[in-house]
Symmetry: C2
Subunit: 453 residues, 2 copies
Amino acid sequence: MESVNQFELTKEFLERFGEAIESHDILFIQASLSGVNSADISALLHEFDSKDSKYVLELLDVETGSEIIKGLDPDTRLEFLSEFETNEISKYVNELDSDDAADIVNELPIKIREAVIDGLDNEEKASNVLELLRYDEDCAGGLMAKELIKANANWTIGKTIDEIRRQAEDVQKVYAVYVVDDGDKLLGRVSLKRIVLADDHMKVSSIYDQEVVAVETYMEEVEVASVMRKYDLEAVPVINMQGKLVGRITIDDIVDVITDLAEQERQLMAGISEDVEEDDSVWVLTRARLPWLVIGMIGGLLGALFMETFEKNITLTLTFFIPLIMATGGNVGIQSSSLVVQGLANKSAFSQTTYRRLGKVFWVAILNGVLLAIMVFLGVQFVMGNGFRLALIVSLALLSVVLLASFMGTATPLILDKFGINPALASGPFITTANDLLGLAVYFGVAHILYTL
Amino acid sequence: MESVNQFELTKEFLERFGEAIESHDILFIQASLSGVNSADISALLHEFDSKDSKYVLELLDVETGSEIIKGLDPDTRLEFLSEFETNEISKYVNELDSDDAADIVNELPIKIREAVIDGLDNEEKASNVLELLRYDEDCAGGLMAKELIKANANWTIGKTIDEIRRQAEDVQKVYAVYVVDDGDKLLGRVSLKRIVLADDHMKVSSIYDQEVVAVETYMEEVEVASVMRKYDLEAVPVINMQGKLVGRITIDDIVDVITDLAEQERQLMAGISEDVEEDDSVWVLTRARLPWLVIGMIGGLLGALFMETFEKNITLTLTFFIPLIMATGGNVGIQSSSLVVQGLANKSAFSQTTYRRLGKVFWVAILNGVLLAIMVFLGVQFVMGNGFRLALIVSLALLSVVLLASFMGTATPLILDKFGINPALASGPFITTANDLLGLAVYFGVAHILYTL
């Protein structure tokens, strides 16, 4: 048994492996990779350049090679595959499941895609990949694989097992056998366990389960993920508008979808505008970060302009509390929007109405705002000794800012969601910049009113 | 075939169903729920109170009932189960897989846990649940289920199929059969597909796959998730320190782990200190939000005190740019920390050394900082016409703040991670508050130096 930690990328091994590549020590390379999981080899190859990786890959069999290529991350893979001729790429793609094959072909430069597909030995694979490329990446059609095992409802178990034997060669993981009618319309499913336990002469129609959850090709991946989570499915059949079985989505693809979505949300919340990783180049990282920084900067300059315009209404002492007002507004805004984003992500069939939701947000804001305002009033009046009027201005402004930021933080993601924009955008610099400006306006507005009174 | 959307919770249905409960219309309730997926019934019951839900549940068979209880969210479930006698709870728990059973028992008040376990009809289930309760919730032992199918390496396929037939009754989803020796030590696995395709008289030892990835009971759930993702596993066997097979973790549990972790991270980034949802009470929501707001407020008051102390060095015009400095520092800090958090989440065996990482952060910060400083200098000098010295002060301070915030944003999550604290904490109000104070100090420090020159 190979335990998880058996293959460890130690510094020593990496060095030795690098030397082996340089000196073309084929025996060492093959011996040290024999029996190693392809995912571990992919991780290993990330440490070497494309030329060296290609040299290693060609010492292994094509099936292992194709799994290794599948395990590389997309950027590395694109660079790596640029070392290959199209017919070599075809050779590896030919070994993969149609969904992985389509994903990899989709990453290639448009001009070589066709050549790679033409080069696939397996004609069925070629037509499957072509079909999958037609679907939008973010929908069920773009996630599904064509490989699945299906049985006609009229078959006997004996014939079904023979057919499984025939079909199973192409299907890596068999979760269930899908039952279809003569027109390929999905009727239901029967688990492999059930087939193993049934008698050979029984008919599929007498043992299959009609209550199968299926998704349609155009369903969004987020929704597919929530359906599979809700019903605890390890695989879900995909049907077209006519109810015909066209593919299957497995849970490992959904795990990737969920992880990607979480990562995307983190980047939106952090104001990073491209899908970057720490090991990207300085320039790529800068380009990803600059847009929101510039927007924040413009917000800051507008704030300065605003204050300049109202210069005569502003005293120096008043400005001491700008950081307080801004920080609180920012924090409240992000808290509010995150809760809405979370609510939208977990939306149940009957979520609260917008009206009730806004009502509750209002009460939470009032409670938070009043508590903070009291603390700040006491702090400014008694601890800092800045006098009653200033304490009143700061605490009233703070209360107003908490209310406004709550409202903005709640409304913005709901509005974005209505327009089909990822609502998590509203938990990032977007809401902070807006709140900063609003906070300043409210603060100096309150001050102006109270000083004039 | 039941399509996904067939059971929809329309307002009309909910009303009709509510009336049926009130008038004890058993026929309508049973007819409308017959053949409906338990996950849909769980969603339906979330719309009714515990008493009504109990009434509905008792009209259904125990197996469906147990699945419905499993599908409720933990808060609702606890409230709901408080309506039941312990022996009634046992009756439902008895039907569940050991991992779900242990999770539900674990949520119950301590004083009734033992009674519920004692009340389980199935003695094996009782001892399994007791065993699982011993493990920490966040590790492989706490995630695993005891139900799995295992075969001795010396058995024939015929005997194995007989044994599967016997064991499979308890196991809902069979992914693979684990192969063990006489001492229950895990040797490998064999897929159900392979068994279906093999001859009855062959020995398990001749067809099983020795390269099985296993995890140990104490492995953290995050790590289990990354192992299952890396190796694309739908289930992973769990072994104890002696290599004995003790349980199995399925991918649906990992999907929950990943979703929970993403939610937890979102809350940390948003400064929400409890696991709350939008539909919690006003008081719970306030309590979850107040702590970070208070910390932000204290930061703001400290900022005011700081400015008061240096009052004579500060001109009113200088304060116009406080929002700019603060907003930029906050944005840069959160961008930096998020990238580190992402890097830590995806850590590969050979990630960059801390030294190289900090070096790159420095160059990205310099590039971002210089670009922003130039824009701000031009804005302040030419657009706003505030003069050369002020433009220089603001842009130099901005550059320094970008550098400092980058450094803080990078170092803080790394330090938190070293101390075993979730690094995502550093992407929230924590880093913002610290950056606000630091930003003020840098800004007025730079101003002081340049005015004195």
